[in-house]
C-alpha cells in the first residue's frame, strides 16, 4: 500500500517536471517529436534507477559512517557522471539495439537535474530503505515519462497551428506547459 501511494504521489500529485520543476531542460529540449521523447524517457528511467541505487549505497555506507555528509553534492554528481559514461560503454558492448535506441540521449542526462534531484530527495524519504529509494526513483521517472510524452504529443499538433510572431517558439511552449501543469494541479489532495 505504501508503495502504491509513493507511485501515485510521484506520477500525478508531485509530478517531477510539472510541479517540482526538475528536468525542465530535456522537457523543453527533446519534446518536439513523440518518438524522441519516448527514447529520452527510457534513458532517464534507466539512469535514474541505477544512479539512485548507487548514490543511496554511497551515502549510507561511506559518507554517513565517515562523517563526510557535506561532500554529498560533489560525490553524487561525480558518481552520476561516471555512471552515465560507464553505462554508455557497457550498453554498446552488451546490448547494441538498446544502445541504438538510447545512445544519443545518454550524455545529455548528466546535466539533467532530475537525476541528481531524485537522488538527493530519495535520502529524505520517511523510514528510507534501499528498496524504497529505488522504487521512488522508478516512480519519478514514470512521472517524467508521462509529462514528456504528453507534452510532445501536444507540440506535434501545435506545429500545424498559425501563431502570432512573438508567440512562436519558447512562449507558446511555456504556456502549454503551464496549462498541463494546471491540469496536474487537479490531482492535489489525491493522496
Amino acid at each position: 500500500m505504501e508503495y502504491i501511494i509513493i507511485l501515485i504521489a510521484a506520477v500525478f500529485v508531485n509530478n517531477i517536471v510539472l510541479s517540482q520543476f526538475l528536468g525542465i531542460c530535456p522537457f523543453l529540449g527533446v519534446s518536439n517529436k513523440v518518438s524522441t521523447s519516448v527514447g529520452m524517457s527510457g534513458a532517464v528511467l534507466f539512469v535514474m534507477t541505477i544512479a539512485t541505487l548507487a548514490t543511496y549505497l554511497l551515502h549510507e555506507f561511506i559518507l554517513v559512517p565517515s562523517g563526510l555528509d557535506y561532500l554529498r553534492t560533489i560525490t553524487f554528481i561525480l558518481v552520476i557522471a561516471s555512471l552515465v559514461q560507464m553505462l554508455e560503454i557497457m550498453l554498446k558492448k552488451v546490448s547494441p539495439p538498446l544502445y541504438q535506441a538510447l545512445g544519443v540521449f545518454l550524455p545529455l542526462i548528466t546535466t539533467n537535474c532530475a537525476v541528481l534531484g531524485v537522488a538527493i530527495l530519495a535520502l529524505g524519504l520517511e523510514d528510507a530503505s534501499l528498496l524504497k529509494a529505488v522504487f521512488f526513483a522508478i516512480a519519478h521517472s514514470i512521472g517524467f515519462a508521462l509529462a514528456l510524452i504528453v507534452f510532445a504529443s501536444i507540440r506535434e499538433q501545435l506545429e500545424l497551428a498559425n501563431l502570432p510572431k512573438g508567440m512562436q517558439g519558447v512562449p507558446i511552449n511555456l504556456l502549454v506547459a503551464g496549462l498541463l501543469s494546471l491540469a496536474f494541479l487537479g490531482f492535489t489532495g489525491l493522496v
Binding site: 510539472l18 510541479s19 517540482q20 520543476f21 526538475l22 528536468g23 525542465i24 531542460c25 523543453l28 557535506y70 561532500l71 554529498r72 553534492t73 560533489i74 553524487f76 554528481i77 561525480l78 557522471a81 561516471s82 548528466t110 546535466t111 539533467n112 537535474c113 541528481l116 534531484g117 538527493i120 530527495l121 510572431k165 512573438g166 508567440m167 519558447v170 512562449p171 507558446i172 511552449n173 511555456l174 504556456l175 506547459a177 503551464g178 496549462l179 501543469s181 494546471l182 494541479l185
Partner: protein, 201 residues
C-alpha cells in the same frame, strides 16, 4: 588570445543580447522552481552569480593545465566545490533562504548556464574577460529571476519583497505562486522580451 574583446559589450551581452533565461534558455529549473517571491529569485540569482564568477575565474586560470579529454569532469568538480561552499554559508548565515531554496541549492551544480560558460567562454578566454563575462551573465540571470519572482509575487500574493500593498484578505491570483503560474508568467515575460528585442532591431 590575439583578438581584442570589447569589455563593455562582453559585459552587456549577458544582460540583453544573450540573456541566459530569455534568450538562451539555460538554467530553467531554478528559474521556474524558486521564483515564488522576488526575494527568493534574488537570493538564487546571487548564489548562482557567485558560483558562476568563481568557476569562471578558476577555469580561466587553470585552463592550460586541464587535459581536454577530462575537461568536463574537471569543470564539474570545480563547480561542485563552490556550490558546496555556497550551501554551507547559506545554511550557517541565512537559514531562512536555505530552507526556501531547498533542493535547488545543490542543483546549482547541474545548472547548464555555469557549465556552459566554463566550456564555451572561460576555457578559451583571458582571466579579465572571464570575470566580466561571469558578472554580466550572472547579473542577467539575477535580473530575470528577480523579475519573474516579482511578477509572481505581485499577482499571486499582492506584495513585493514581502511589502504588502493590498489588504491581508484581498483576493489575489493564487495561481501565480503555484507551479502553473511559473510557466505562464515566464511565457508572457519571454513574449514581452521577444517583442522588445524585435522592436529594437
Amino acid at each position: 588570445m590575439a583578438e581584442k574583446i570589447n569589455q563593455k559589450q562582453n559585459f552587456l551581452k549577458g544582460i540583453v543580447k544573450d540573456n541566459p533565461v530569455f534568450v538562451m534558455l539555460l538554467g530553467m529549473c531554478p528559474t521556474l522552481g524558486v521564483t515564488s517571491s522576488a526575494f527568493n529569485g534574488l537570493g538564487m540569482g546571487i548564489a548562482t552569480l557567485f558560483v558562476l564568477l568563481m568557476s569562471n575565474i578558476v577555469v580561466s586560470l587553470i585552463k592550460s593545465q586541464i587535459p581536454s579529454k577530462v575537461r568536463i569532469p574537471a569543470f564539474i568538480i570545480i563547480i561542485a566545490s563552490f556550490v558546496t561552499i555556497v550551501e554551507m554559508v547559506l545554511e550557517a548565515f541565512i537559514p531562512f533562504l536555505y530552507e526556501q531554496l531547498g533542493i535547488f541549492i545543490p542543483l546549482i551544480v547541474v545548472n547548464c548556464l555555469i557549465l556552459g560558460r566554463a566550456e564555451a567562454f572561460a576555457s578559451k578566454n583571458t582571466l579579465l574577460s572571464s570575470i566580466i563575462d561571469g558578472i554580466g551573465m550572472g547579473i542577467g540571470f539575477t535580473i530575470a529571476l528577480t523579475a519573474l519572482g516579482a511578477v509572481r509575487e505581485i499577482l499571486g500574493n499582492g506584495s513585493i519583497f514581502d511589502l504588502r500593498f493590498v489588504s491581508e484578505d484581498a483576493n489575489t491570483f493564487i495561481l501565480f505562486i503555484l507551479p502553473p503560474g511559473a510557466f505562464i508568467a515566464l511565457a508572457y515575460l519571454s513574449l514581452l522580451f521577444n517583442k522588445l528585442t524585435l522592436k529594437s532591431n
